[in-house]
């Protein structure tokens, strides 16, 4: 065939640019689409059919390349799955083209058209109907997660030795004996109706068990491989009009980038809605052409040329409407997503920019006006919740009820629904505690944070909110295990610069009997000053203790007694009921034993502020007291 190229007018160029943009937008979002409008559009300009197909292919692979790179950045692409399916899809394209040629040879052009329309109607009616129904069910049920179909569960459970491959996005091992036929069918459909994604994306979602966003993103890798192979095939015969391809590409790259960005703002089921709607509209479009082909083949009474022309025009108009509707839904979702995100950011900004009221007192050690309760809703947090509300009420302070959701960045990308679920659970716990605090007349707010290191989030939240006191529950772990592993509590104490109150589950901080441990250092003095302020709040009796270990000489005992007496005298001067005692033996053990004997309900200690590895490995006196004390332990910071 003599290859002649079309003279392009400005109107042609603008038209291709716009259709390219819309097709790109849809492709970036659902992984494919656009070709079913572009190819007939080029043909209507006078481009021969084979050249229209070839030029469409030549714009498709660079578009899919840009789209897949963009969506891989959002963690949505399974490259391995895309390549495996893409290679088998290429085989499907070659076979599909061969089959088309055979049908055209045997039954003529109308027979070929009827075959194409038949495939269109069957595939679009069954698959498109199912996709749309599934999307509607997800949307109307308000479900956050897509459920794997029974077929997908079965496919993921089948083990055929020697054929198994692990796919990261599916988090499963699947036999390639399943992926190869699916890829092949995708390719065959691409060769027949130009949009392989109408099979590829639903197959990955419903048969392999991929989430909608992963399936549509991975389809772009398949489209790249098919488009690249197809372009070479047609270019070898010189059928590619690179001008047409590059003009369409100019528009479609704007669209594909926008469509890819759009996927980050929508729920998974939006892919299904857009795909389902387009498929059903395309189905109607092809349905209008079937009488024309049947009439031409003589299976029904002949219809006039005028009627055939009207049906053909309606069919093409419906294709344009299908693509435009898809693009409209995507743009609407994108704008809606922008608006919701902007409101969320504004709300977060408002919270952080909330003016912090200045403290009434000047004392840095006994200020309990901004109290942060860290809770995970577990039984271990029960004591902390109760005491935090009680203390905030007594000190007339503000309570910041905080919960930290532990996240793993890799996991977060693959299962964002899980994170949303965890956040929702944590918020429910926070709301419950908030309600209890408000009923007790305590001014409070909730803080929900996510982070991979819980202690870091606690420490940074305390710093941002200018917290005076962090209240945490004590986990069951104790002894060697606790020392070796370190705990979130130990790390918070090591890194924060504010007071920390650790309460065991059964703690009952009545504020009757308080014990303070001093050692003559400035850290001990800080503990003593905090105890004085706290005893004034709680109207408590204070027992001041100092422990000596190893050297029990008179001189050493006297020295310890003078340290204790000094603090007792200072407390008495401030009207606090105080008494003193020198303990002999290991500080941690003797403090815990004395607390049990004297029915102490709160131990106050200073922190020597060691942090990091040394503290976690060795454990400090305060750490060991926290681990074994029958009551709450207050670690005071200056």
């Amino acid at each position: 065939m003599e290859i002649s190229f079309l003279d392009l007018t400005l109107a042609n160029v603008l038209f291709l640019f716009v259709v390219g943009f819309i097709g790109g937008l849809v492709s970036g979002f659902i992984g494919s689409g656009g070709a079913f409008v572009l190819t007939p559009s080029m043909m209507s300009m006078g481009v021969p059919a084979i050249m229209a197909v070839a030029s469409n292919m030549c714009h498709k692979f660079p578009k899919a390349l840009v789209g897949s790179i963009k969506r891989a950045r959002y963690g949505q692409v399974d490259v391995k799955l895309g390549i495996i399916m893409g290679i088998s899809a290429e085989a499907g394209v070659l076979y599909g083209a061969h089959l088309q040629k055979y049908i055209r040879h045997e039954f003529g052009q109308d027979g070929s058209n009827l075959y194409v329309s038949f495939v269109f109607v069957v595939v679009l009616a069954i698959v498109g109907g199912y996709v749309l129904l599934d999307a509607w069910k997800l949307y109307s049920s308000g479900a956050q997660e897509e459920k794997k179909t029974k077929i997908a569960q079965w496919v993921q459970s089948v083990n055929i030795p020697g054929t198994m491959m692990h796919f990261k996005a599916l988090n499963a091992r699947i036999s390639v004996l399943f992926t190869i036929p699916l890829g092949f069918a995708t390719g065959m459909l691409a060769a027949t109706i130009a949009v392989g994604g109408f099979i590829g994306v639903p197959a990955m979602m419903y048969i392999l068990g991929a989430p909608g966003l992963v399936a549509s993103a991975t389809e772009l890798v398949i489209a790249f491989i098919m488009g690249f192979g197809g372009t070479i095939k047609y270019a070898l015969d010189g059928y590619v009009d690179v001008r047409l391809a590059m003009i369409i590409l100019a528009g479609s790259l704007f669209g594909v980038q926008l469509g890819a960005i759009g996927t980050t703002y929508v729920k998974d089921y939006m892919v299904k809605i857009v795909m389902g709607v387009i498929m059903i509209l395309v189905l109607f479009s092809r349905g209008f052409m079937i009488p024309v082909y049947l009439s031409n083949l003589g299976y029904i009474d002949p219809i006039t040329d005028g009627t055939a022309s009207i049906l053909s025009n309606i069919s093409f108009a419906l294709l344009v409407i299908a693509l435009s509707t898809g693009a409209f839904i995507i743009l609407y979702s994108l704008l809606h997503g922008f608006r919701v995100e902007a409101e969320r950011q504004k709300a977060e900004g408002d919270t952080t920019e909330e003016p912090i009221e200045p403290a009434v007192q000047l004392s840095p050690t006994g200020r309990f006006e901004r109290i942060m309760l860290v809770t995970d809703g577990s039984e271990f947090s029960g004591g902390a919740e109760r005491e935090a509300i009680e203390l905030a009420k007594k000190a007339n302070g503000q309570l910041f009820i905080t919960s930290i959701v532990a996240v793993d960045p890799d996991y977060e990308l693959l299962a964002p629904q899980l994170l949303e679920k965890q956040n929702a659970q944590a918020q429910t716990i926070l709301d419950k505690v908030k309600q209890a605090a408000e009923m007790a007349g305590v001014k409070c707010e909730t803080v929900l944070r996510q982070g991979s290191e819980i202690y870091e989030e606690i420490v940074s939240t305390a710093a941002e909110k200018r917290i005076d006191l962090i209240i945490m529950g004590r986990r069951g772990k104790s002894g060697l295990m606790r020392l070796m592993m370190g705990s979130t509590t130990a790390r918070v104490i090591g890194y924060t610069d504010c007071n920390v109150l650790v309460t065991p589950r059964a703690a009952n901080l009545t504020g009757q009997n308080v014990m303070v441990a001093v050692d003559g250092s400035r850290h001990g003095d800080i503990a003593a000053e905090t105890a004085t302020n706290l005893a004034q709040y709680l109207n408590a009796n204070v027992t001041v203790v100092s422990a000596i270990e190893g050297d029990y000489s008179d001189r050493h005992r006297k020295e310890a007694k003078s340290i204790v007496d000094r603090v007792v005298d200072l407390m008495k001067q401030k009207g606090v009921k105080a008494s003193g005692e020198v303990l002999m033996g290991s500080p941690a053990t003797t403090i815990v034993d004395a607390a049990k004997d004297k029915a102490i309900d709160l131990i106050i200690m200073g922190s020597h502020g060691s942090s990091g590895f040394e503290k976690v490995l060795m454990g400090s006196v305060s750490d060991r007291v926290i681990g074994h004390a029958p009551c709450a332990v207050f670690v005071a910071r200056g």
Binding site: I69, Y74, T231, A235, V240, D241, V242, E412
Partner: protein, 76 residues
């Protein structure tokens, strides 16, 4: 939608100029390019190479274009 950013503006302009230059070259060398690609055979390299070059340059331009306008992916 975020606020438009100056950070993406400079690369958007630079890639945009390169992209326009490529399209201008395609228009200017339209005849020899079409003649070469119509020959087929090993000349398949011509449209394929053009497609790759355009996807790189114009892809970067369109990416920075939306970013410069403040149209960015949602932060997780």
């Amino acid at each position: 939608m975020d606020k438009p950013t100056k950070k993406a503006l400079v690369p958007a302009i630079l890639w945009g100029i390169t992209s326009v230059a490529l399209y201008a070259s395609l228009y200017y060398f339209e005849k020899p390019i079409l003649e070469a690609s119509a020959k087929g055979g090993w000349y398949f390299i011509v449209p394929v190479t053009i497609a790759f070059i355009f996807s790189g340059v114009h892809g970067n331009f369109t990416g920075y274009f939306w970013e410069a306008l403040g149209v960015r992916a949602k932060k997780k």
